[in-house]
């Protein structure tokens, strides 16, 4: 049925080994890629959900329909979802497990590839759903919520398949012995860990949930998807598609189910249920830590907050550096777990291709670069998107109290969505001793410029803050090979991925599936990478059986 996916999976396996550039799903929203009318049909499909019960037929509910999503662009979505009964979803998932386990790794991988392919065909529909739950600008919602998330999904499938098939599924064991050899046949069966729960986040509902969803599913585990109460629709569509494919392939659709809520603590209930054996979470450090402490019966993977750092030492592209940093701070109003927060700059200034720049010039240069990038409101909103929720809004509005304002945040009126909440980034100067301020995460469009005694001190502060609070990204600008080496060593010590001298079209916030690791697991921001062997390995076990080969013994005896 899904034989066309074999080649895709082979390529994906080659890609995770080689880690060069590869993508299975084109990121361009152009009609040349998706066909004429695809954009319009996707928009219409999204709009058809609004103000109605979502068309998900799923057992294990109370019968009530719930949901209170409101777009950061100022629209009530009015979509409702079946209110689940946790116990019943878990029971249905458990009952679906054995047949999925028995299907084996290859069949599961092919079914997963088909689900992802169908999600790809719905990229426009999902893009609108992501835009109007996360507040991302449309093109970003299309790319990050669609093809990039699909690539991350396929990457997780490839890692799972690789891990499950790296050893033989059967073997003949023949041990020389006195008289006659001992001969056994052995069978090795992948068994899933058990029911998995994926807890989605508000800002990247699909991108951050797909790796876990597909890593668990391909390794044989039924998955209950628990979206953030503000970002249900993108995952509801995902669950719908997954169930459709599973049913067509002859499996119980209860292998993937939706656990929607308005925020009554369903995540904690599910995550600590004795029969839930895997929990994947993206979100706050506070709840992530709680899960790690309390979901003791489960394998828990978390991606939490961090204090991403930039160390500016020197540059051979002053304008490139400022433009690149300005873009990283502005993209989706800094509401990315990968966006820079702490920018360490020597108080004595830095050398550049345009001469020495004082600390003040760096600060003014960066503020001006952001100002230029976001100078035109209509174009600015296509970069910043909208503010995802009131907590982020409160943080950016209070940023001025944290230090000396280098660049004040500005409210922008969205030309198409008058009720959208749009804010440009605030940049605040704080003293290197104020690690009570910059040493914790300020998720959203708030960053800090921190004067240091030297680049050596900057790297020490990077090392220290990341070790304590975690980070998903770090970045360094330097023309000195020695400083770049020191930065690499600091990044290894702190366990954070490092980008060097980004002055062109690659940004520190971006990580490319199949090539860049997202997170490392080596600092408190995350327990594993999306995706590395550690992310998939604990999701399954191998159970063996062995039988003596009698015929051989009998032959030898005769």
């Amino acid at each position: 049925m899904y034989d066309q996916h074999r080649d895709t999976l082979e390529q994906a396996r080659a890609a995770i080994a080689g880690r060069g550039h590869w993508s299975a799903y084109p990121e361009s929203p152009s009609p040349r890629v998706h066909g004429e009318g695809a954009a319009e049909r996707g928009k219409a499909a999204f709009e058809s959900y609004l103000g109605k019960p979502f068309p998900l037929e799923q057992a294990g509910g109370t019968g009530a329909w719930i949901g209170a999503e409101r777009s950061p662009y100022g629209i009530d979505l009015g979509v409702t979802y079946p209110e689940p009964i946790a116990e019943e979803l878990i029971a249905a998932a458990s009952a679906a497990l054995p047949a999925w386990r028995d299907a084996g790794p290859e069949a599961r991988a092919l079914v997963c590839a088909e689900i992802i392919q169908r999600l790809h065909r719905r990229s426009f529909e999902i893009a609108h759903a992501v835009q109007h739950t996360s507040g991302q600008p449309f093109v970003m919602a299309f790319q990050a919520g669609g093809p990039h998330a699909q690539d991350r999904a396929l990457e997780a499938v490839a890692y799972g398949l690789e891990a499950m098939t790296s050893s033989a599924a059967s073997a003949r064991w023949e041990k020389p012995a006195k008289g006659e050899p001992l001969v056994m046949t052995k069978r090795f069966t992948v068994v899933p860990r058990g029911v998995a729960v994926v807890i989605g986040c508000n800002t990247f509902p699909t991108w951050n949930a797909y790796p876990a969803l597909f890593a668990s599913l391909v390794t044989g585990n039924p998955v209950i998807v628990k979206p953030h109460p503000r970002a249900i629709l993108p995952l509801a569509i995902t669950v719908l598609v997954a169930r459709e494919v599973l049913a067509e392939a002859g499996f119980d659709p209860a292998l993937v189910s939706l656990a929607a809520e308005e925020g009554q603590g369903l995540a904690a209930t599910l995550a600590t249920h004795p029969r839930v054996r895997i929990v994947d979470f993206t979100g706050s450090t506070e709840f992530g830590d709680w899960l790690e402490r309390n979901a003791r019966q489960a394998l828990v993977h978390t991606e939490k907050a961090g204090v991403n750092a930039v160390v500016v030492d020197s540059t051979d592209s002053w304008r490139g550096m400022l433009a690149n940093l300005a873009f990283s701070l502005s993209l989706y109003s800094g509401q990315m777990c990968t966006a820079p927060q702490n920018i360490f700059v020597p108080a004595a200034g830095v050398e550049t291709d345009e001469g020495h720049k004082s600390f003040e010039e760096v600060a003014e240069g960066l503020a001006a670069a952001v100002g230029r990038l976001l100078g035109d409101d209509a174009r600015a909103v296509e970069l910043t998107g909208a503010i995802v929720n009131p907590d982020v809004l409160a943080r950016v509005e209070g940023a001025g109290e944290l230090g000396e304002v280098v660049l004040a945040s500005r409210a922008i009126r969205h030309p198409s969505f008058p009720d959208a909440v749009v804010r440009t980034p605030a940049i605040v100067r704080v003293h290197a001793s104020a690690d009570d301020v910059y040493g914790r995460e300020h998720f959203g469009p708030v960053s800090f410029l921190i004067p240091t005694g030297s680049t050596g001190e900057s790297l020490d502060l990077l090392r220290r803050t990341v070790k304590v609070r975690g980070a998903l990204t770090a970045s360094v600008y330097s023309t000195s090979p020695r400083v770049l080496d020191d930065a690499e060593r600091a990044a290894l010590d702190a366990g954070v991925n490092l980008s060097c001298n980004l002055t062109g079209g690659v940004y520190v916030n971006q990580s490319a599936a199949f090539s860049d690791y997202h997170g490392t697991g080596a600092n408190p921001a995350a327990t594993a990478s999306l995706t590395d062997p550690g992310y998939v390995a604990g999701r399954f076990h191998v159970v063996q059986s062995r039988h003596p080969v009698r015929e051989v013994l009998d032959e030898l005896r005769s």
Copy 2:
């Protein structure tokens, strides 16, 4: 320096993929393998340690020398070891980490292979140390404590190397873009999780510690070895050899250190230290569960107790079955985590190649088979070894109170060691409803014969007891393909490795490195297999750095 190990590592990697028969270290103690005089030199080396401070030069101690090992064969060893200061061992291990990390996966694997090779050359010396701490009979101590443990060590190195090198260490990433492609070079560095602690057990001091020791070491983690207070010497020799090789290879010997104690709770102190990031434990369910609950800062792998099950349905080799079971119950007096405990037999009896046998005939047949196997005291002790500690002795002496005695345990006087504590197995009949008795582990020479309503009920009891209490092995005897299929399904559901119709020279207690998985991780007896991808994956992370390729951009621009 260690280039000769490249080929061994290649073969080991092929073996873990193919899982046929392979071994790097010959298991035979014959002089034809080890050379004339090797046995005598090994014995002399062992004896040279007795009654003296062990020749381990290691910083981080109180200056006191401790140790109170007494051989189960009735000899006080009188060896003393440096009393460690936990904080100092951890600090020394931490300081040694960066250079070991920077050496990279291949160099670490070669050093590990050299350590294992040198341990192999000391197999006789280690065999005596294992015999006189665990109570194993000599040949078993040689094989399980020497070559088999060394094979398991190499297997762990191979898994670690495979996991660390499955993706490229560097890559060129070139993404087509408007105008000019985006080009980056990327480097991917394996970083260890941190200081590891291996907590050894009394019965298999080397076999159960080596996989953890080498899995952590090859992935870049310094290892503190904390032996069982009654079984220090085999691991002290191991640590000595490891430090010798590390120092010769130019590394800090603090990468492997010994934390000896007489039983003051050092394991708990080490395992919960904030800087300890990996804990491997073999031993009781009680302390294993405690570690899982309390060593929250670490990756914790435990191998605990279980209730290993045998289901007898029918057989085409009545005598083969009885002889095989009798051997499994008698080997090392059942003091193996893999020894059968619960033997489920239909109350109505079973069909065999010698006709129908009633439940009573099965019981009598098994008792008689054990009696024959252990009839000659001088030969019996070479199979049973000695009782490892007073707890096991108390259990076997109290076995008669647990049900109806089918075979009473017998005390044997060891011909060479008059103070050795030797006991033959006890077999007790208990009702299927007495799962308060057979549903928990009775480590040592105590097994239960349990009459059931049918083989179906036997398999249900296997499934239920293993799910609740765990098991490392399960075994079934049947001539019916349907029953064998049902047994395989029960084993998959319970997550336990299954052996079918063992009537010859392979025993359920035995697992062959590179082919058989020891434990599964899928039931409460263990968190992972020795060795599977899940056992090594969490011990390291990958940290990346990326740099734009400027030259290319500049060329394209010109």
